[in-house]
Subunit: 306 residues, 3 copies
């Protein structure tokens, strides 16, 4: 589980089926606890902080009955100068599976070579975040009656340049070429070359980048996916562009959308979506977070059961 | 479990009965481990550091067979600007119950509105700390043969102005109006208006604030409850009052007390109680800490079993 | 489990036998999980950072089915001024066994007096690290067909002055006087007086300190034990000696050694051993780390089963 390139449709079908089953077993309260991996230890190896990903995996593993060891490398004795290889070899001794979050592109792939146990990429720099892409896709799938064939358009709003989340989901959507991809970027946040290239094989790029100063055809989209400005990555932007969120999904905008549109967000949200629509059935961002735990349970189960 | 105002006598009776049972099951070693909530996850949500409360709940939950996820918000990516509401909604997805420690008054009540799972107030600013009050009351109850009717007087020594601990216990003692409350404050630490008001309906305030420069009638008290100077909250005190502990419970003082007096302290202790009396049967502060784990086990069990 | 002085051969035999059994049960994957202490809580009490020791004990305890509470005193409310005694008494309430890491010599012994539960010394200052010595000895034992009688010589390379690891293993080797001890120190890192004294009863000290500027008789040694320069403890060294690692075990050196020599290292490694020999059967440093978890499992089991 290193790169989205390794994921194919049969794997997704299997993973989604297992996730459906986990949700079914959870019942009405939404808490599914299975005591099936009580003899397993997950090592959360975080070389940069990411509370949400870390807690989500921790909750998933504990919901399977397993144990979790948190290794926060950014506060640890790594300062002593140990190599990445030695650290990973050591961590693979402590547990049965590793979730790796690291600021450098390719670090998950590298770790997988060193580790004696499976490695899950929990985000490697600005590169990929495969489990986020999977939970996003699963959220779309569940919201449209377990049928991705009925979804035709997705609009990415916000920081289309720097978002690892957007990049990862677009990569995964390669498997579903019938879904058209649109961008509505903040000022100074146009999609990067690699993202445009990533969709160029199937779509007319020009018409797919919307201008926030023109009327937006909100009624066209099945999915609206918002992202926050990646403040930690904007140092290369021009001063005047280092602005605030300049597109906010409000009740007024929601009223212009399809009836069954879904509004997504990887969270944390700052002000990209008005809280006034939090209780609308279209707002699925908290559901999305919940599915995150469930899809990670399913993924851990698949990898630990090998 | 948000405010002491919500606690009534039937609840206390039920909680104490369950705690008695847990202690009985623990046997002579004092360690009771029940494997009754192995399918449950507690989220320790700490927005300010409080090692003792956090570890006590962690020990309690693990003693019930359950899992714990520690979320230390003061070190986390909360900095990204997420709202309190979104954070609480997220945490309620990760677990089955939340313990909240937060520097702001009213935060626990607010969290309870947002959360899909029960919230326990683990201290909200200078306001309340209900589980501390419960463990304190339980310590008195156990020390007097499971009978609060035989307890008539309690003396609070120390920082009577700022102590959340004192405020919380006094609130809980409203349910036991036969217990008279006395204060023996450090210099500059007289009881605050709200605390005096809190006991004014039943007692003569004037006579109940003792002057440390006068002889103290130590023989009057069934319970002596010491607190340390809240260093983190003394910035508003006059310079000359920002002093040291100026009343220390020594062997000499203990000799002036009732035979069966109990000496309590919420810990950590700095120098409010001389270590020379640590082994006296009257010194129950470590017992008190032990009861803290047990009462939290009982409380968690009640809330998780609903 | 406070001092190596308390360890005798019958205890070692029992511990190694149990560890052998744990490894056997682990099977080919090397992960042994026993669900035998699910009702027990280990408290990792770390008064200075030591990621490796902490994680190793955490992995060991969780592999026995138990729970772990991590108490990192260097970040906690200890700052409030609580005494060491009060802290230890409190921690002994939260769990069934304590692992203590502390910067001061003698702290483990002191803690053991205060605690109501067993204390394991996880390193007290520059003094001792008994479980490290045990895992080191076990690594030698396993590498020589479970027979320490066939081991005659050990060479310590590196920081022979400050290394708690070396000091501890030498102490433990008192029980095996047939093993000769040699030093090959970095510049400015000659063995300290106490270490020399420690071996003086049986060996000719003069001939046992090798000079790195002379030819080294690598072919003599059964075990080569490398250590890194203790950067955190070199402030008393002369400026010109605060150098880098100046002896590196390379493929070239390995070729001069006995066929069945083993190369050990407590890790983390900086550059004391060239990575080019990582895959040689002689390089047992990662194995050594793995044995660390196993020996700690065995030790915890012995102490918790009393």
């Amino acid at each position: 589980m290193i790169s989205i390139n390794d994921i194919d449709k049969p794997f997704i079908d299997k993973l989604f089926e297992k996730t459906d089953d986990i949700i079914k077993r959870g019942g009405s309260k939404g808490k599914c606890r299975l005591n099936i991996h009580s003899d397993k230890i997950l090592v959360n190896a975080f070389f940069e902080p990411s509370t949400r990903t870390q807690l989500s995996f921790e909750s998933a593993m504990k919901s399977l009955g397993g144990s979790v060891i948190n290794f926060n490398a950014y506060t640890s004795s790594l300062k002593k100068g140990e190599s990445f290889k030695d650290t990973i070899k050591t961590l693979s001794i402590y547990g049965d599976i590793i979730v790796l979050r690291h600021p450098q592109t390719g670090s998950a792939k590298e770790a997988n070579e060193y580790s004696d146990v499976p490695v899950i990429n929990g985000g490697d720099g600005s590169n990929e975040h495969p489990t986020q892409a999977l939970l996003d896709l699963y959220t779309i799938y569940k919201s449209f009656d377990n049928n991705l064939n009925t979804v035709n358009t997705i609009l990415f709003v916000g920081d289309c340049n720097n978002s690892r989340t957007i990049r990862s989901l677009i990569k995964l959507l390669h498997l579903y070429p019938h879904i058209s991809i649109y961008f509505l970027p903040y000022s100074g946040c146009n999609p990067s070359e690699d993202m445009l290239h990533s969709i160029s094989h199937k779509q007319n790029i020009q018409t797919n980048i919307l201008d926030k100063n023109q009327p937006i055809p909100y009624h066209l989209f099945d999915v609206i996916y918002c992202t926050r400005l990646q403040k930690e990555r904007i140092y290369t932007m021009k001063q005047q562009d280092r602005s605030r969120t300049d597109i906010v999904i409000t009740k007024e905008i929601l009223n212009k959308c399809k009836n069954n549109v879904i509004i997504m967000h990887p969270l944390p949200r700052i002000d990209e979506i008005s809280t006034e629509i939090d209780n609308e059935p279209n707002s699925v961002y908290f559901k999305q977070m919940e599915y995150g735990v469930k899809i990670r349970m399913a993924l851990l189960d698949l990898l630990l059961s090998r």
